[in-house]
Amino acid sequence: MSTETIIKAAEAARAAIVANESEIEHLDRAIGDGDHFINIRRGADTIIALAPELDGKTPSEALKAIAMKLMSTIGGASGPLISSFFLAASKTEGIDAPWTAETVARLTEDGVAAIQKRGKAGLGHKTMLDVLIPVAEALKAGAAAGEDAAALGARVVETAAAGKDSTRDLTAHYGRAAFLGERAIGTVDPGAMSSYVIIRAIVEAR
């Protein structure tokens, strides 16, 4: 059931990535090397293609298999970051029990912490973390407060959008955009954009 959730989320993510191709590609062409769209689409495709193998696996097994597979297929900067997310999530406490809002909040928190550890970036560095860190916090707070699913979903999407927008006025400290210095100001970070788009799609698909 929760493994199905993962596949369903990946399918929603893929559709959202494709629907926002030109926007994501445009941003990485502007302040990166133009391949972010391709990298994350490859990631989503990989998870979906893995579905038959995941059948019957526990969430921890499925998340770990996904992590290993993503690690060897995405490449680039996003590959290690995204696969670190899944690897950490596979070890999240209670991941094999039925999922609650708290489970989702916890796996997100663990996953985002792993991304920070791997990439050494933090809030305000104009990366995907400017979306992911606030989203993890919103999930945690909402779950703790027992917020209902619809309200929590809306808040998460809003938080992701704000995080994404916040990258526009920043200079980058990590990733290719960092080499641009001041010239990166005015352009949203592609990884932040794709994270927002994916999160929104997953929330909406729920």
């Binding site: 590609e25 690690m71 490449g75 680039g76 900067a77 590959g79 791997r118 990590y174 290719r176 960092a178």
Partner: protein, 326 residues
């Protein structure tokens, strides 16, 4: 997009297959996972040199696999870092029991993927991060400078030292020293086009150039109007000079980005040579050609490496790879 390809997603596999056939005397190619190793694999007792990075920079790195240079290279998708599984399998295939030295260009993706490989690899390893691109002032970012054409020089010199039997720690120190002694600055006259993207990475006006461009088409210091090459080269030279303060003997690498006629590269060489003469620098060694490219980009980069006696000896040591041989 016009390219000599069959399909964007088959580019790497087919090109690598051709590379393997054209140089079957020198290398072995694996497609799954993707890597290129010296024919026959590892040499017992020798530190294994493993490099890699996104494709599109050919001959770097696969063209530098062979005697006196790399033991293995891991090509990623075009402009996309390879993945840890490639690096691990390649490193195991060339393991000589004396440890693995990764040579990695300083990009977030490459750094993280090689880091994961190093963590997962059994046995000792060390990593040299090249970061010779002086285009972007390092103060503005935590990632540090980009690794570009001096990687070729690091791979040649460290490769020669590995061949003569230096140990892992010595090689790591040598590579760091060569990297620190090197500075590179590039300029683009046209963009490159990533096959999977299908259109130019950036757009330049008919008279515009990108000064300080990265080898993935990343923007550099500024967009400006084309000027005579002497003026462009003077700016590039000064930027390098400021960072590495060369004196005495240098190695000069005039590197084509992929779409620049050799006629122009030698003209650039002449422009740099005039400046070196003016500054009292001796070009003790040099290399002119396409070594660290950016697909079909027109433009070039200039690299200066401050040479010491050991580096010269190692530079002159025999090398036998697809792209460098003496």
């Amino acid at each position: 997009m016009k390219k000599l390809i069959n399909a964007a997603d088959a580019v790497l596999a087919e090109s690598l297959a051709g590379f393997g056939k054209a140089h079957a005397d020198l290398v072995e190619v694996s497609q799954e996972p993707r890597y290129v190793i010296r024919r026959g694999g590892g040499r017992p007792g020798k530190v294994a040199l493993v490099s890699g990075g996104g494709s599109g920079h050919e001959p770097m790195h696969a063209g530098f696999v062979g005697t006196g240079m790399l033991d293995a290279a891991c090509p990623g998708e075009v402009f996309t870092s390879p993945t840890p599984d490639q690096m691990i399998v390649a490193a195991e295939a060339v393991d000589g029991g004396a440890g693995t030295l990764f040579i990695v260009k300083n990009y977030a993706g490459d750094v993280m993927n090689f880091e994961m490989a190093a963590e997962m690899l059994d046995g000792e390893s060390a990593t040299i991060l090249t970061n010779d691109d002086v285009a972007v002032e390092s103060s503005t970012h935590s990632q540090g400078r980009r690794g570009v054409a001096a990687t070729v020089i690091v791979e040649k010199i460290v490769g020669a030292a590995a061949e003569r039997g230096d140990d892992l720690a010595a090689l790591k120190a040598l590579g760091d020293r060569v990297n620190a002694a090197s500075g590179t600055m590039g300029v683009a006259l046209s963009s490159c086009t990533v096959p999977a993207a299908g259109r130019p990475t950036f757009d330049l006006g008919p008279d515009e150039i990108e000064m300080g461009v990265g080898i993935h088409g990343e923007p550099g210091r500024r967009r400006e109007t084309i000027r005579p090459v002497d003026a462009l080269v003077e700016d590039m030279f000064r930027a390098i000079q400021k960072e590495i303060a060369p004196e005495g003997e240098v190695l000069l690498l005039v590197n084509g980005m992929g779409g620049t006629p050799l006629l122009e590269l030698y003209l650039v060489y002449e422009a740099v040579a005039k400046l070196c003469a003016k500054e009292g620098l001796t070009i003790a060694r040099s290399l002119v050609g396409n070594y660290c490219t950016s697909l079909e980009m027109q433009g070039c980069s200039v690299t200066l490496t401050k040479l010491d006696a050991e580096m010269k000896t190692l530079w002159d040591a025999p090398v036998h790879t697809a792209a460098l041989r003496w």
